[in-house]
């Protein structure tokens, strides 16, 4: 606090209960209509004395990570907001310049750790596009299924955390339970739950186990009721609805100019979805809708995520029904490792194996070529810009994380609101610090 009651030198009369109630009501109405409460601004001098600078985070529970906001407050209203990021900066892009193309897959897990598979797939698709190779149809379909499962897990967790931050704690527990179903599938498919490293450039690490269809179909049966349950728990909760409705409204123009993508962009009317606009992995073969909201407030971001979950379930159903058989790794062994038993028996495969894992050999795209490739991650457009110098490591590997550009609007959005609104906005923005800072 810049000013404490002892040395303020100002005698403040104690207001009566009736006055206080009237002021509160007026302030509440003003706040809803976007007017800064007059009773608050009156305690401030012209030179800003009476304002308080508050650090919100990096260890506040509502920041879900290492986000730090610096709020200048007048009473409980935020006059000025600034954010400081980089607490989780790990130099992923610099690492990318020093690791081979296959090695960096493991780093991509650590970006959005709630849906690591989407990062794996996004990175692999980018390198495959740079090389100009196409993965087998079974691999593409499996990637789509796992991406959509991961997206559901990410969205349902986000909705649960939104409930937890805004006075509906039980939603978090219920959504966590159902999220476990997805994590069971991920564990069965790749052995890890969080840091999956599931894809390879040109394919996936191995084919799915035999009981994979059973797991997915039982998930498809078990999951849909939770959507109704979450809606029931949150939409009938007056505290939750009052705290998110008309809070943190993003206009379509703001969304476009600040580069917002994903559920946040779509909930404010910006009609972008990489899966539809620039199909990859055969997304054009699946029949799905891109939900859109028009309000752009925190409530519509919640509704957007819930509608997207339904569309993801629809994509998984279609992909499971048409899941092709065959190989899961691209058959050009100049870029993807041959099978292990072939390596033991066959000289050609052994040579290919050595050529791929030896440093200085491996995957080498053409000299001087560069490409920007994007996929739709749960948070929005996840892009990779890769420039090659003909060696086995990228010359420049740029990640365009969706959270970075989404978060850019956050300080402008919370200014003029209250601290509790900042919590509502932040939880609906679902900013992942690992991806934001890289």
């Amino acid at each position: 606090m810049t000013q404490s009651p002892e040395n303020s030198g100002r005698e403040t009369p104690v207001p009566s209960a009736a006055t206080l109630e009237k002021e509160l009501e007026k302030g509440w109405k003003d706040h809803r209509s976007g007017v800064r409460p007059s009773s608050v601004s009156s305690i401030t001098d012209d030179d800003g004395e009476g304002r308080m600078v508050m650090n919100f985070g990096p260890q506040h529970p509502a920041t879900h990570g290492t986000l730090r906001s610096i709020f200048t407050l007048e009473g409980e209203s935020i006059v000025e907001a600034d954010v400081e990021i980089g607490y989780l900066h790990t130099g992923f892009e610099k690492l990318g310049e020093n690791m081979t193309y296959q090695q960096w897959v493991t780093v991509s897990d650590r970006m959005n750790y709630l849906s690591a598979i989407n990062n794996n797939v996004g990175y692999s698709v980018a390198v495959e596009e740079l090389l100009g190779i196409e993965v087998p149809p079974r691999c593409a379909a499996l990637r789509v299924i796992m991406c959509e499962l991961s997206r559901i897990a990410d969205h349902v967790l986000c909705v649960g955390l939104q409930g937890m931050d805004l006075g509906a704690f039980s939603v978090m527990l219920w959504s966590f339970e159902k999220r476990e179903l997805v994590y069971d599938i991920i564990e069965a498919v790749c052995g890890a739950r969080l840091t999956t490293s599931w894809t390879r450039v040109g394919g996936i690490m191995r084919d799915v186990p035999e009981f994979f269809p059973d797991l997915v179909y039982s998930f498809l049966d078990e999951f849909p009721p939770i959507i109704e349950e979450i809606h029931g728990m949150l939409l009938n909760n007056k505290i939750f609805v009052d705290r998110v409705k008309n809070v943190g409204t993003v206009t379509t123009e703001q969304a476009r100019s600040y580069g917002l993508t994903g559920p946040i962009g779509r909930s404010s009317g910006l009609d972008v979805d990489v899966r539809r606009d620039r199909p990859y992995l055969g997304y054009e073969n699946y029949d799905f809708k891109v939900p859109l909201q028009t309000e752009g407030d925190s409530f519509s971001r919640y509704m957007q995520r819930m509608e997207e979950i339904e569309q993801s379930l629809e994509i998984i159903r279609q992909a499971m029904a048409t899941l092709p058989k065959g190989e899961v790794v691209h058959d050009d062994f100049k870029t993807s490792l041959p099978k292990k038993d072939a390596v033991h028996k066959d000289m050609e495969s052994l040579i290919h194996h050595f050529k791929l894992v030896m440093l200085g050999h491996g995957i080498r795209p053409e000299t001087g070529k560069s490409l920007y490739s994007c996929t739709e991650a749960p948070c929005g457009e996840l892009g990779f810009f890769i420039a090659s110098d003909g060696s086995d490591t990228p010359y420049r590997l740029r990640v365009r994380p969706p959270s970075l550009y989404n978060y850019g609007l956050f300080p402008r959005l919370v200014e003029g609101g209250m601290i509790s609104d900042a919590v509502a906005v932040l939880s609906s923005f679902h900013v992942i610090a690992g991806e934001l800072d890289r």
Partner: protein
Amino acid sequence: MVVEMSAQHPAYDALPADLQSKIFEVFEHQGQVGMRCNAADQRTLLEHFRLSQNYDFLVDVTAIDHLGKDAPERFEVVYMLRALQSNHSFFRLHVWLDERLASLPSVFDLWDSARWGERETHDMFGIVFDGNPDLRRFLMPEDFPGFPLLKDYPLKGRDERRQFPKVVARGDRMVEEEPDPYPTSIGRQMHTPDYIEEVRRDSKPRE
């Protein structure tokens, strides 16, 4: 300069003749088109793409450091533009930037996403975007002296801890010691053959 054309893009075709002459290469890889221009024409071209051709979505801003490579200039700043209205048409604008200058006009007034895109490019490469209201350090600490994505910045770091101000005893007083000057290569005309050879030798991590 000779115009090299290996690809076509509607954004290039729609340029008026005087602006077309400022783009000296249009190249393509896997169906994605990039254009090259010089730093002096960057603002004019981007203004045209935003205001006349309605490329309303700046996907990303980034840069490449070509230290030690056979490139016209050391830095290549990349703008990735998308037009949401006209079928999500996408291209990249690559801008050659002299390391002695290391500054470009900001485009934050055309796209708000450039505010943070340029801020990160500044943080990582030391390139200054004139006019950007907020070019503080972004991912690195605010007192960090180096620019980590420069090619001559080693992966293990440069022992920045010794750059932190030290308090030492001098006589009977404790005084804060000035840190050593930081060895950054930005703007020091280090794009010389000797230095490039040195970097090339040092930047071979595994042998």
